[in-house]
Symmetry: C2
Subunit: 95 residues, 2 copies
């Protein structure tokens, strides 16, 4: 299992566009093989912080996701809405 | 529902102690009312990054957790193992 936390810092005036497009990414991604969880969250205090929390069966499934048509199409547009680069961490579970 | 990502940056020589103690915290916390998920993760590239990903039924359950005996006992010790303050984000789900 691989857990991913991808934290995005979005330009104030692009928050709604980011959310709408990220929802499309979520919708396509949850159908992928090996995807256990893929959800979009918004920080309660700072609405510019939008985080995707993911769980994949293994690294291969995650790599395939990053090669998928929807990822390649949507992620560069999402990146253009960001104030600074996303923080992405890949984790293993210890508990 | 409230999602929490608590990201800790632990001193190199305190990683094992942090993990052992955090496991005790996880064990006690998952028994709490309103706790949907509470798991410890370690970054695959940087073993000093230890993150707890949590899900609570509501803010009240989270507040109760932060008032619990095990939280009050264990968290200050975990903090003493950190290189810098933890990053804590509370989120709502959008998808």
């Amino acid at each position: 299992m691989v857990k991913v936390v991808a934290k995005h810092f979005v330009k104030e005036d692009k928050i709604n566009e980011f959310i709408e497009l990220a929802k499309n990414l979520v919708e396509a991604t949850v159908k992928e093989e090996g995807c256990i969880e893929y959800k979009l969250f918004q920080d309660l205090k700072d609405s510019k912080i939008l985080t995707i929390i993911e769980e994949w069966e293994d690294k291969t499934a995650l790599d395939k996701h990053m090669d998928s048509e929807h990822f390649i199409e949507i992620v560069p547009i999402l990146s253009s809405f960001m104030e600074k680069p996303a923080e992405m961490n890949l984790y293993k579970n210890l508990t």
